[in-house]
């Protein structure tokens, strides 16, 4: 099958007849639901841009499995150049959608599993890698969206998976059959899960002896029997139910998170990629997280570009663009944003080829990237709110602006720079609101904090790889630590002594 069109993607999603619950009701026409559709539009953009020649270099890649051109979201990275192009593609999509476009998790999952299945086979004599390569080829040839599902609800964080009072808080195997396995549990915070054709499940933490039933990785169709979704709420989400495109800020695009439930789901062996090999679950978690921490050095930067642009436009419309402190704040926002991009590129260019043949990012730099992402978007958002002014949260509604009697009053008092229509000023302020504390803030702020692992997870990884002993040796060598000291030479300095030195 050739690359899909955006329309084909939306239709294929509707054809899945997923079991999605929102506000306590099961949805029928979910692809046209006003709360869900903007998130579908985001993924549709990954198909749209792939068809445009001017974006082909970033959006397409050559499959090492078939030699065919495929959407980069289904590609196994074959070079450091591929890794860098991934980050640039994500920036581009952030710019075009101003949202989380959700398709990255599947890309990061297939790249992590590619090397881990290979290494598991080498150590254990299993046959996961060949199966997984066939599955990747299936994704590529059908241009599918896959959800990378890692985060279990986890229950009591102080207990191992097999020690939990309710075993289902970690997804686990409940039955092994000749034809496959049966799994039960859930995955939380699933970005784009309801917009995916396929689900790729991975363990959520490093496992140890006793956790064998929890060390499981597999793929299944998003509409597999027993899989259903409970849609996550977002700040201000019901504004999307109002019949206007003003108060939502970004009417076309948005993100999506859901709780994905596995109620005794059967998975055939050909789609199982880890089954009880506890010692490889840690590597899988680290590599998926590493790739996803790299991703944030692209996607959040693209959204940051939109927010910086919105703040600068608001300054223009407020008539303060020439104020030196405004210029300086925009420079600071740009500096922070480009620092994130630098980290995303750095961990890509310092990537390595794994024994499986694919390329992996530099782990230390990827974790530094994500650690910065837990901070900088917050500061960029703070500066955007500073520049925009308080009106972004005190403006009247679209209905007030449309009202025959008070509409002209709103127009009169919320006018800005004289050639700016009030409606446009309101639109740009609503976009800033959307990104900083509306529906898109889920992606730009809280996802920056907790997505791909909370800040402490990165600090643990940074600590592990900081090579602190080498740094100590550097310091000791320069300071002369351990050198014999002749205290007789410690005399009051003189010009003569200085010349001798």
């Amino acid at each position: 099958m050739a690359l899909r069109t955006p329309e084909e993607f939306v239709q294929s999603l509707a054809d899945l007849h997923l079991q999605i619950y929102l506000f306590g009701e099961k949805l029928d026409d979910y692809v046209n639901h006003p709360i869900i559709r903007p998130s579908i539009n985001c993924i549709a953009m990954t198909y749209e841009l792939a068809r445009q020649p001017e974006f082909a270099d970033l959006m397409l890649a050559t499959s090492h499995l078939t030699g065919n051109k495929v959407n980069r979201f289904t590609h196994i990275h074959q070079s450091t150049d591929d890794l860098a192009k991934k980050v640039k593609m994500q920036r581009l999509l952030g710019q075009k959608t101003g949202s989380c476009f959700q398709r990255c998790v599947g890309m990061d999952a297939i790249n992590a599993l590619y090397s881990v299945t290979y290494e598991t086979d080498q150590a254990k004599g299993t046959e996961y890698h060949a199966r997984f390569k066939k599955y990747v080829q299936y994704l590529q040839e059908n241009d599918l969206v896959a959800d990378g599902a890692m985060t279990d609800p986890k229950g009591d964080r102080g207990l191992a998976p097999h020690e939990q009072p309710d075993p289902d808080v970690y997804l686990h195997i409940v039955e092994r059959r000749d034809e496959g396995i049966v799994v039960r549990g859930a995955k939380a915070h699933q970005t784009g899960a309801c917009n995916s054709h396929e689900i790729i499940v991975m363990p959520t933490v490093a496992m140890r002896e006793g956790d064998e039933d929890y060390a499981v990785s597999f793929s299944c169709p998003a509409n597999a029997r027993g899989v259903y979704y409970i849609y996550g709420r977002q700040s201000c989400d019901t504004r999307k139910l109002e019949d206007n495109d003003l108060d939502v800020g970004n009417a076309r695009f948005g993100g999506q998170e859901a709780l994905m439930v596995f109620d005794d789901v059967f998975v055939p062996w050909e789609n199982v990629y880890l089954c009880g090999e506890v010692e490889f679950s840690g590597a899988l978690v680290e590599r998926f997280a590493g790739f996803h921490r790299q991703s944030y050095g692209g996607c959040k930067v693209g959204v940051g570009d939109v927010l910086i642009g919105a703040a600068a436009t608001a300054a223009d419309m407020n008539g303060v663009a020439k104020a030196s402190h405004i210029k300086d704040k925009l420079i600071e926002m740009t500096h922070l944003n480009e620092t994130l991009f630098s980290c995303g590129l750095a961990c890509s260019h310092e990537g390595v080829q794994m024994p499986a043949g694919n390329y992996q990012i530099d782990m230390l730099l990827a974790n530094v990237c994500k650690q910065n992402v837990t901070r900088f978007p917050y500061e960029i958002a703070r500066l955007a709110e500073d520049i925009a002014g308080g009106l972004m949260v005190t403006m009247p509604s679209a209905q007030d602006l449309a009202d025959e009697k008070i509409g002209p009053i709103v127009e009169k008092f919320f006018v800005g720079q004289c050639d700016t229509p009030t409606i446009d000023r309101m639109r740009i302020l609503r976009l800033v609101e959307n990104l900083t504390l509306g529906t898109a803030a889920v992606g730009y702020r809280t996802e920056s904090m907790h997505g791909a692992g909370s800040p402490q997870a990165q600090r643990i990884m940074i600590g592990r790889q900081s090579n602190i002993n080498h740094k100590k040796e550097l310091a000791k060598a320069l300071a002369g630590v351990g050198k014999p000291w002749d205290k007789g030479k410690a005399k009051v300095p003189t010009a003569e002594a200085s010349h001798r030195r």
């Binding site: 390595v352 080829q353 043949g357 530099d362």
Partner: protein
Amino acid sequence: MTDEHKPATEKHVTIVYCGGCNPHIDRTAVAGELPVDDPDVPPGATVHVSGCPRACASDHLLTIPERSDGVRGTAGTPHTIRKSDGVRGTPGTPHTIRKSDGVRGAAGTPQPGAEPRTVVIAGELVDGVPTRAADLAPTVTRKLKE
């Protein structure tokens, strides 16, 4: 060449170091334990010694894949790993086994029974497999003599 200019012993192993900006291991100590003059090692072997998992000595490759004739590529220097068009060869593709395009695996004609080996040390990894620092040299030595 007069005798006095000949090396005292034939070097069987070429050592290629990374730049050493962030070493997790003592690169020269590990290299010092390798059997560079050992006649049991087929001549032409190369060991890429990087201080950390970034594997700069082998141009970011954790392993140098074998060619289709079963011989591991012998990069010699990091520069010969890179293809002339600036694109790195990828294992399993025809690029890794061709000799004429300057891709890795291009050095020398393989001699039956004396196949040159290439081993990558990248921090505490040997050919991508976690290996304690103390075991690096013995592991590489064993591979070179296989």
